[in-house]
């Protein structure tokens, strides 16, 4: 789960970078970059953090 979280987070960044070549319109790029940010945040807060929460010190 930790490594999945890392990969999802990086993929979100790559989506944002690829907005530079997928379209030339500002609104199109804006949408793609926003989607990339959401994917990265999902990787951090939804996957990576949850992986660590499973064994959190207060659950032991």
């Amino acid at each position: 789960m930790v490594f999945l979280g890392i990969i999802v987070t990086v993929v979100g960044w790559l989506i944002a970078v690829f907005s530079l070549t997928l379209t030339t319109s500002n609104s199109g790029r804006l949408g793609i970059v926003m989607a990339g940010i959401v994917v990265s945040l999902t990787g951090i807060l939804g996957v990576l953090n949850q992986a660590y929460m499973k064994n959190a010190i207060w659950k032991r």
Binding site: I6, V10, W13, N26, M34, I37, G43, L48, A56, W58
Partner: protein
């Protein structure tokens, strides 16, 4: 593990087909464009021709007069004080012109150095805030992390980091050129040549970087880097193994921070999003909401997740307990020190006070103080309305949040926008602290993730919204003519460039920080033992108590 690494490499190779490694010197800095709006009505007056003969007749006070002293100050600083290149010829036009050039660079040197000294003093503010917000049993440990992060960060930056960040920045006109910083590693991204890291300046001796302008640049950039590093110690306080802190800080000062700083400030790919891909003026971050604060905040978030919450922070059902600060007086004093240092942080980021539109330092300084004020009001009012009391520590964090948020836009926005940005930051910091504390359950003893990470990102975005197109630093920014202009003033492309910066901070910087600290965790261990944590880290980690005459309560 190997499979995971292979997968990671595969993703890179598949995802970046347009990337071709190439080695090329950084392009020479573009000449500044002419001022975009020159009045055209009245005919220009005839030029006054000066010759060496005119200059020769200028005389200063005699040596006899000078020997009598100058209590009124009218005889000091005259033509007599201008050095002559040839005593036999006397004062020439060339002497005069050279002196004007040196005066401009000297003003900019002094400005940049003194503002750098102010930023260095912010370390004291961070130390006071973080130590005050944690418990007395960890005072020595927390203070010592804040103390030594200055040294370990500086060492890493001198050895490696500065070259990566600034090694290819090119000529910085305000500082007289910095010509030796001219080698940037470039790649081809989607058909455009973009920079990814600098290569000159290792040890400040490499490839001609033993240079007065480079020294000014190093001092100023070094204290910025150290600010980013010290943000992390707050989030990991009260449970971070000291040896892990040392290694983590060194690697951040050597690689993580300089890499993103190169991309944003060193001529890297984010800075050229405007000239290469038509996105406004590229990623614009005047003084570092993203480069400094969000990099620190994203690293703090990575470490906060990795290291886990303090013992006693959460109950078995996941509800959070408040762990009160041990010295709120120290916290607010630290906030004031930081606010003072911010007058170096933002106005100093012009890297000069003379020439190239640098008189805007007044506007930058006023924006900074207004946003800090608005941030403290925003947080105080939010806490007062929601909880019935004007919470002191959150008011302090509101001040810092406002300052963090205005750091990127301070050079590009007007005072009304500065107040709006600061006010929103003050509310954001309160909401964000609650979010991380109660929903995400990342324990952050000082609120660094919210103050620096979340509001750093807000500051970056706010440039893309509020930049009013009135600033003019030599006629161009990031190689694009004209002034930086945000969405509310007509340029949607600038907002896209800022959001790509945000995506890089969240997706790349966070990941790089997380992986570095994960590896440290494998080899050294990030967290102290439960016994040491309960006892307090002062004796187990540092060998002496911060407050030896206090009677500390055991848990």
């Amino acid at each position: 593990m190997r499979k995971v690494l292979l997968a990671f490499v595969f993703v890179w190779s598949v995802a970046l087909p347009g990337v071709v490694l190439a080695q090329a010197p950084a392009p020479a800095a573009e000449p500044a464009a002419a001022s975009p709006q020159a009045p055209a009505a009245a005919p220009a007056p005839a030029p006054v021709m000066l010759t060496d003969a005119d200059i020769k007749n200028i005389s200063g006070p005699s040596a006899d007069d000078r020997a009598k002293g100058d209590p009124a100050g009218t005889m000091t600083g005259t033509a007599t004080d201008i050095p002559r290149s040839d005593a036999a010829k006397g004062l020439t036009l060339a002497d005069l012109v050279n002196q004007v050039g040196q005066n401009q660079v000297a003003i900019n040197f002094v400005w940049t150095l003194v503002t750098g000294f102010l930023v260095m003093f912010m370390q004291a503010g961070f130390a006071a805030v973080e130590t005050g917000l944690t418990r007395a049993k960890n005072a020595n440990h927390t203070m010592m992390m804040n103390f030594m992060v200055y040294g370990v960060g500086m060492l890493a930056y001198w050895l490696i980091g500065f070259a990566i960040q600034e090694g290819g920045v090119g000529a910085v006109a305000n500082l007289g050129g910095t010509a030796p910083l001219s080698a940037e590693q470039t790649i081809t991204l989607f058909g455009k040549t973009v920079g990814i890291f600098g290569k000159n300046g290792y040890f400040l001796m490499h490839n001609g970087t033993y240079d007065v302008g480079v020294m000014v640049m190093f001092l100023f950039q070094m204290v910025f880097m150290d600010t980013a590093l010290t943000i992390v110690t707050g989030t990991a306080a009260e449970r971070w193994k000291y040896a892990a802190f040392m290694i983590s800080s060194f690697l951040m000062g050597a690689f993580t921070y300089p890499l993103f700083a190169n991309w944003a400030w060193g001529g890297g790919w984010l800075a050229t999003l405007g000239s290469n891909f038509g996105l406004g003026h590229g990623y614009c971050d005047f003084a570092g909401s993203g480069v400094v604060h969000a990099v620190g905040g994203m690293t703090a978030l990575a470490l906060g997740i990795l290291i886990g919450p303090r013992i006693g922070k959460y109950n078995r059902d996941g509800t959070a307990n408040a762990i009160p600060a041990h010295d709120i007086v120290l916290v607010l004093l630290g906030c004031f020190i930081l606010a003072f240092g911010w007058f170096g942080f933002n106005p100093g980021s012009t890297l000069g006070a003379s020439g190239n539109g640098n008189l805007r330092i007044s506007s930058v300084a006023v924006n900074t103080m207004l946003a800090g004020m608005a941030g403290s009001f925003g947080a105080m009012l939010y806490m007062w309305i929601r909880y019935g009391k004007p919470d002191a520590s959150m008011s302090g964090n509101g001040l810092l949040a406002g300052l963090v948020a205005i750091t990127a836009p301070s050079g590009f926005v007007n005072p009304v926008a500065a107040v709006i940005i600061g006010l929103i930051a003050g509310v954001i910091v309160c909401l964000s602290v609650e979010f991380f504390d109660r929903i995400i359950r990342v324990d952050d003893p000082v609120g660094a993730i919210s103050v620096h990470g979340v509001n750093g990102l807000w500051g970056v975005i706010s440039v893309g919204l509020f930049a009013d197109g009135k600033s003019n630093y030599g006629g161009s920014w990031n190689g694009v003519s004209g002034s930086v202009t945000g969405l509310f003033y007509g340029d949607a492309g600038q907002l896209v460039a800022q959001l790509i910066g945000v995506a890089t901070l969240v997706g790349f910087v966070f990941t790089m920080s997380f992986v570095i600290n994960l590896v440290i965790d494998w080899f050294v261990g990030q967290r102290v033992s439960a016994k040491a944590e309960l006892e307090g880290l002062d004796i187990p980690e540092m060998g002496s108590l911060g407050y030896p005459e206090f009677v500390l309560k055991a848990e």
